[in-house]
Amino acid sequence: MNYTATPRRTLRRALKGILVRVISLSLMLYVLFPFLWLVLSSVKLPVELLSRPPVIIPEKLTFKYYANLFENGSFMTAVWNSLIVAGFTTLLSLVLGVFASYVFARLKFPGRKAVFLTILGSQMLPQMALLIPLFILMRMSGLLYTFQGLVLAYITFSLPYVVWMYYSFLQSLPHEIEEASRIDGCTRLQSIFRIMLPLSATGLTATGVFVFIGAWNEFLLASVLTDSGSRTLPSRISEFIGQDRIAYELMFPAGVISCIPVLVLVLYFQKYIVQGLTEGGVK
């Protein structure tokens, strides 16, 4: 054994360990800090919130403004609206998307590739280009400022997404069990509902989570296609910014509240979300 080299080797290993920890910690800080700062800011009293230099750790935590928000009618309406819109968008695009994905994953038919590309391609169009005609068409048909209108606009983007993502989940599922069930006398619909759906439950859930998060977070379409009665959470929060006095103490709790469902979903379904993100080349 080389005795002289041992201390040096130990030192080198220790240095390497420190370096790894420093890099790792700074990465975590980079990823986490903005959100941590928002959460911290949401429980500060205005004295500490609006101070210079900023107070890092508040002496006194307050949940007063969270409570204020829960009593704020228009805010709670927006939470409710967001739930309705995101919920129905998810439900409808899953129901329609399941059939479409099934078709692409299991059936061979003329025009398959062209139809598939059409559906996927429609998702690549920029939302801005669709928003202007949608605004006018919805205004003419009376859908403007209604939940139905907004859900319809969201489905435009979520449906192709569901088709793509659920399709890639279905492809990784063996056909044989479905085929066996068909031979045993199941109808096509029975084999979809009794065999395919239960087997792909995780894929379906992951797809649903993606759609829900997307609809819950959406701002551009909501800012144009809703009014004060049908405002969703993101467009309601953006209004806090525009008010005559910037209501920081309400804005930050509102922001945190709007994150809670998404963070719960992301942390709970992490594994499937990662799988979905890496499998489909779509955000």
């Binding site: 790792s24 700062w37 559906i119 280009a129 202007i132 489905i155 992490q270």
Partner: protein, 324 residues
């Protein structure tokens, strides 16, 4: 087998067969649907999806083309169209702001895509080569991706604040600045500030895909390289880089497509200002259509974005095809 049993078997089977025959002949709607050929089933199942996409994507896109050739005016709650031919497009080309907006868009897109990939690459390499607290990091890693752009802009606006911003305080303590700066109101810094926030949000997704590509590298390759006496740098150039090159190509195209449509963050942080320094095509289209209510002009601008996006979609499809 005794007679009675045989009789029962035949009788039973006959009943079953009879039922089946009847089902085949008359059948409910469900039975009839079940006997359709694959092609008919496919189009039947696709019908709702296709109808919806036709009505909400293709009809509006065509309609947008029509709008982009018109001047739309609101008079007493009624909309009127005047067909003006290419004049919206002409207006765009001769708009003094257009060139600036276009160059902002290109600058924003290129900087964002390159920086996002570079940072994401660093992160994924760190995770790949062993990260302290990897379990925790993997849990929090997707937070920026999951937050809405509204919350994202809320956070960054607060951190950049010229009065109470933590960003200013940190830079001041580190000695980079002498006094608090209004990062989003200064036309020289606004663009970088917005870019920084947008990159922060995009990094996790890109890092995740890069990491997935790295983790699919067979272990044997690394071992072989070690046996041949190669260090980490050799491994990086000769194993990792060639292996993840296809993914990098795909990511370049996807990120470019997605960056071309960035709107929320810029609109919420700066509204395209100050002095148009953060005005990109998307923000410009929105401002013209929904602030100045010049829907025709807005449609013309957004058609330019569409064409840019289609070009990239084309490249995207081509890259995917090459990779597959």
């Amino acid at each position: 087998m005794d007679k009675a049993n045989r009789f029962l078997m035949i009788f039973g089977r006959g009943r079953e067969q009879e039922k089946k025959d009847r089902g085949m002949r008359k059948g409910g709607l469900l039975d009839r649907l079940d006997r359709l050929s694959d092609t008919s089933t496919a189009y039947l199942y696709l019908m709702p999806t296709l109808t919806l996409i036709l009505l909400t994507v293709f009809v509006p896109m065509l309609y947008a083309l029509f709008i982009s050739f018109s001047k739309v005016a609101f008079t007493q709650g009624n909309m009127t169209y005047d067909f003006v031919g290419l004049s919206n497009y002409m207006q765009l080309l001769s708009d003094a702001r257009f060139l600036n907006v276009l160059s902002n868009t290109v600058f924003f897109t290129v900087t964002k895509v390159v920086a996002t990939l570079a940072i994401a690459f660093g992160i994924s390499l760190t995770i790949y080569f062993g990260l302290w607290g990897a379990g925790f990091f993997k849990r929090i890693f997707l937070i920026p991706w999951a937050l809405s752009n509204v919350v994202n802009s809320l956070m960054w606006q607060w951190m950049y604040s010229g009065d109470y911003g933590i960003f200013n305080e940190v830079l001041l303590k580190l000695g980079f600045i002498d006094e608090y700066q209004m990062w989003l109101v200064n036309e020289h810094t606004a663009m970088s500030a917005v870019l920084f926030a947008d990159i922060w949000k995009s990094v996790p997704y890109v890092a995740l895909l890069l990491l997935a590509a790295m983790q699919s590298i067979p272990r044997e390759l690394h071992e072989a390289s070690k046996v041949d006496g190669g260090g980490p740098i050799t491994a990086f150039y000769h194993i990792i880089l060639p292996h993840i090159k296809p993914v990098i190509m795909v990511l370049l195209v996807i990120e470019t497509m997605w960056t071309l449509r960035v709107f929320d963050l810029i609109w919420l942080l700066t509204k395209g200002g100050p002095q148009d320094s953060t005005m990109t095509l998307n923000v410009f289209a929105y401002e013209q259509a929904f602030r100045n209510f010049d829907l025709g002009y807005g449609a013309a601008i957004s058609y330019c974005i569409t064409i840019l996006t289609l070009i990239f979609t084309f490249f995207y499809m081509k890259t995917l095809k090459v990779e597959n």
